[in-house]
Subunit: 283 residues, 2 copies
Amino acid sequence: MEVIDRIDAWRKALDGERGAGRRVGIVPTMGALHRGHASLIERARADGPTVGVTVFVNPLQFGPGEDLDRYPRTLAADIELAAAAGATHLFAPSTAEMYPAPPATTVRVVGLAELWDGASRPGHFDGVATVVAKLLSQAGPCHAYFGEKDYQQLCVVRRLVADLDLPAVIVGCPTVREPDGLAVSSRNVFLTPAERAVAPVLHRALDAGADVLAAAGHPDAARATMHAVLAAEPALSVLYAEPVDPDTLQPLRAPLDPGGTARLLLAARLGRTRLIDNRGVTR
Amino acid sequence: MEVIDRIDAWRKALDGERGAGRRVGIVPTMGALHRGHASLIERARADGPTVGVTVFVNPLQFGPGEDLDRYPRTLAADIELAAAAGATHLFAPSTAEMYPAPPATTVRVVGLAELWDGASRPGHFDGVATVVAKLLSQAGPCHAYFGEKDYQQLCVVRRLVADLDLPAVIVGCPTVREPDGLAVSSRNVFLTPAERAVAPVLHRALDAGADVLAAAGHPDAARATMHAVLAAEPALSVLYAEPVDPDTLQPLRAPLDPGGTARLLLAARLGRTRLIDNRGVTR
């Protein structure tokens, strides 16, 4: 696996792959790679011969007082994991390489960016959209793999790529879970043992909400069910638990028709850690 | 010359040119092509074998009450002019092809977008930055030719391309002028004969301001000179006349050092028509 830290070398490497007729897949990450990222890399490698992983902790998507400084940085281990999962290239630029001057350009996906996590993290999805536009421009024509774990991010990226005609095909991949159902996340390392024992309730709440929504289609009942399951854990403070349209992320206002699809979005705070999870529902 | 109205066909045509080893130049325009555009096309053709002209009147960059509806649309003549100037491809998508749904994504170049024309045309440069990001993404790796006539736009585009690492080299080209000095512009057709006779005063004001700035370096004296020249034409109402930094477009606050460079920016209203012009100064 080739490890690259300069934009021009990265661009040249991927141009070379395409020039040789090889399809390019990329997996954009903030590092601290885990089994979830490995599943994206494996999927990309199953789809084509060239897989480039990008590792960049993007300051633009962290607000003041958020965990930019304590976000885990584990490049040596990331290189090992990416290579083992089948990556052929890994691009890990410095912040100075990505932003030689404070960037003036902001990409915003209006509508999606202000909802849910965007409401409590103002500017977060602008930072995501901006760095993804930049990473995709650097990479050139490719398939880009994103986890459904960050579902709102996936929607923002899909919309951004469609609106700006970026030459990428976005592939959303299923969330990888621990045996007890907790979604694998780089932030799980912040959980105390007691918090870790509580955390799978998010997944149970989503499953219970999905059962209710699939059965009768009533979003209010699904929301109430999720809140009831979550209320059993007093250490947990719910930020939102909502049945939404799977594309616009707007709350469902009417019952879901048979055959209709929805997404359940959930965020909660557990001690110092903010956890998110989601799942799809087809009635 | 190949005329194309679909994004996928345009992308495929330019990919084919690059695949055959030919450098691609593009000239993004809103149509109503004139000698100024012809000079961009000729320059691009002198630089390389493939020149694609885009013709799209971008609704995003017109504000409410601006001249979107009366902006001249002359596709048949544009095709003739582009072919005569040496273009090999012309891309003229419909609004529905460019924006199949109302776009949610906005690209903003903070700092540059709010100054000068951005102050009186809120959202204008967001519309420019968004459509240029989209046009450059569609076109893929290329040299892209823009006129210095729209100097603030050129600065916005340069910054956008640098910040997002779009795979384009931006080439700024000199303003083309009528024999009496008036900058060639699509909007000149709106001028009455009396207004047309007055309009060259913009160019004379710029030249007078440049002489003063080059001689002693004092921005206040240059600004005063421009205003004095313009005041001779009571039909004209000055919007701004400013010596600025050529990259940030911030007003010059200190005298220009010998060897230093500046830009003089000028905008004025003449009847219903808004005219802009600018020129560089090296002391």
